[in-house]
Amino acid sequence: MGLKDVFLQHPERRYIMFGGGGGVGKTTFSAAAAYWLASQGKKVLVFSVDPQASLTDIFKRDIFGKGPVQIMDNLWAQEIDADSHIRTYQQEIRQKILDMYGLPAVPEEIENYIQAASAEPAMEESAIFDAVVDVVMKGDYDYYIYDLVPLGHALYYLSMAKVYDEWINKITKLREEMREYEDMVSRLRREKENEQDQILNELHYIKNRINTSAGILTDKTKTAFFFVVIPEAMVINDTQKAAQLFAQFNVPIAGYLVNRVIPRELLDQNIPEYLRRRIAMQDQHMGDLRTAFGDKVLALVPEMERDVTGLATIKKLAAIMFA
């Protein structure tokens, strides 16, 4: 079964993700899949959740932080600008503090906290994943193609979502208990009802956001996760480990796509020993891949003769991927 059949057999899978180690071709494959789906008449948004996004390079269009940009018929691309997203968000928090307490300026201690929180390494990922919820919830497109962050970050995010969920359940419970004490005092003092607990509302909101973004990653019917691998020992090892972890987090793994396979036709030509050895090495690793992932290996994509940038080469690549 090929990649095309998987897409044709499962039209309900609307969230398509390409994950893999750094530099294996996630962005390239995301762009090619988006191109193919768009040329089939589907309305597609391909977007990057990687702070070092490269959709701009592949489409040769400056789309960074500009919202969805139309690339061609049915195809839009988006790169989320995490920094500006965080700056806007910080400003909203500051404004809220000023409005709530009628202050002329944010107290120094609070301002320091805002600054420190934003310097946390997890901030960027959280901000992007949070922005993705908005993008996906609008539901304007038939397909959403995620150009994912390298494996480590995606795993981090998934485990984070699980921990956060439990954590937020706990503090929501604490908050509700606090609420009971408040109500008790009100009853004893025969005061009227307490006003709504704003913090409790915020906690419910946060829980909802985290669950939505993690929920998409683990949705068995609507999500298809593809690993991109290259036939090299280390990449295959990493992918096997990651696949196990992803499975533990219930990510629905739809298949494996092998990139940068040296064309075997070269063997008929007069090629240097160096290239013959590399082909032999790849053959061995391809065997490993087949043993490890069986018929879930859905496509073999050759090492291209030039960089995949611009629609013409993307089209060529898509034709190979979806043969």
Partner: protein, 92 residues
């Protein structure tokens, strides 16, 4: 709240009895409840704003959302957290 003017003698008399009964029966209870409530408030800020004391707990992106609501408590909370011998004291 306490210093309200009472228009009628009878009403204020009833009010006085009500407050006396409240004072005898329920005041201690509500004081204890408020104390517990305040401790929980501090615990709550600790687990959401732990970064302020150098204890990162909540993902910072979301803890910022809660920050505006706890601004007034932060000064007293820090004092309390640094005074208490054991953080668990604040829990019970």
């Amino acid at each position: 709240m306490v210093e309200q003017k009472k228009p009628q003698g009878e009403k204020s008399w009833l009010e006085a009895i009500r407050e006396t009964i409240y004072g005898m029966a329920a005041h201690d209870m509500s004081r204890a409840a408020l104390r517990t409530r305040a401790s929980m408030e501090h615990l709550f800020i600790l687990i959401t704003m732990g970064d302020l004391l150098g204890i990162p707990i909540l993902p910072p992106y979301y803890s910022l959302r809660l920050l505006p609501y706890v601004v007034p408590q932060i000064a007293t909370w820090k004092r309390r957290m640094l005074r208490e011998k054991d953080v668990a004291d604040a829990m019970f």
